[in-house]
């Protein structure tokens, strides 16, 4: 699965990339904010987006809105990462169509569970595939 990680803080991008690699996701690219990420999303076939909310230039919320407003990207699963469980921000992200959120600090296990839950919900994950297999055998 091809994943794009967006965060203006390079250390955080590196940590998320390391965690994803540990989980077996090897095809991971990085962008430092929404303005860099958006053309990458248009030009390459990303299957999952992980973005910080608090970024200069184009924020994570603006990026999310741009993705949902774009007919070619609107179904892309999006997971947001935030440094605090601020209710206003999370509600705003939910209204903008986010698929899930994660509060720092988080572990590889939490990251995997968020990804799996989102993929299952959006019909692209292993749970869906397992369910389809089960249907076929019944």
């Amino acid at each position: 699965m091809k994943i794009l990680v967006v965060d203006d803080f390079a250390t955080m991008r590196r940590i998320i990339k390391n965690l994803l690699n540990t989980l077996g996701y090897e095809d991971v690219n990085e962008a430092e904010d929404g303005t860099v990420a958006l053309p990458m999303l248009h030009n390459e076939d990303y299957e999952f987006l992980i973005t910080d909310l608090n970024m200069p230039g184009m924020s994570g919320l603006d990026l999310l809105r741009a993705v949902r407003a774009d007919s070619t990207l609107c179904r892309l699963p999006v997971l947001v990462v935030t440094a605090d469980a601020n209710r206003e921000k999370i509600v705003a992200a939910a209204k903008a169509g986010v698929d899930g959120y994660m509060v720092k600090p988080f572990s590889a296990a939490v990251l995997q569970s968020k990804i799996s839950a989102i993929l299952a919900r959006t019909g692209q994950g292993p749970l869906e595939a397992a369910a389809a297999d089960k249907d076929e055998t019944n």
Binding site: F9, T11, M12, R14, I15, N54, D84, K104, S107
Partner: protein, 156 residues
């Protein structure tokens, strides 16, 4: 597993990045104090503290940097949410918080361990936070944007 266990260079990478950010923030505080930056620069300062907080939260052993930047971010939000007017006292406090953050980072680089930050700074940040909570409550009851006098953080 700690982030640095799977990536041994991460610790120095993190310290380099947060120290550079801290120096930028210190320059911004000085420019704000000199009146050479607009009030909108407080949002950049808030984002800086937010980034320090988020990075420190994800790294192991950076509790003091996390606490200091979290409290300082709340103080800056007093300005960005227009609860209080910026003042020399407020900028002095923010400058001290940035300076303390840089000290923590430099000491962590030297010893490999991040120490605690000063109790007096913590108390000043907490007094300021309490003042902002009270000012925000007063604002909700119809009062206007409040001043931020030096007495708030001098403990008088």
């Amino acid at each position: 597993m700690r982030p640095t266990e799977e990536d041994p260079d991460l610790w120095s990478f993190f310290l380099d990045e947060v120290e550079a950010l801290g120096q930028e923030m210190l320059a911004a505080v000085k420019a704000l104090a000199a009146g050479s930056l607009a009030e909108t620069a407080y949002e950049d300062l808030r984002r800086g503290f937010h980034t320090l907080k988020g990075g420190a939260a994800q790294m192991s052993g950076c509790d003091s940097l996390y606490c200091c930047s979290m409290k300082a971010e709340r103080i800056v939000q007093g300005v960005t949410r227009e609860v209080v007017f910026p003042s020399p006292a407020l900028l002095g406090l923010l400058g001290d918080a940035v300076g303390a953050s840089i000290d923590l980072i430099q000491q962590a680089r030297l010893s490999g361990v991040m120490p605690a930050y000063s109790l007096s700074l913590r108390e000043r940040l907490e007094r300021a936070d309490q003042y902002l909570v009270d000012a925000e409550r007063a604002q909700m009851c119809g009062e206007g944007r409040a001043p931020f006098p030096g007495l708030v953080v001098d403990g008088a």
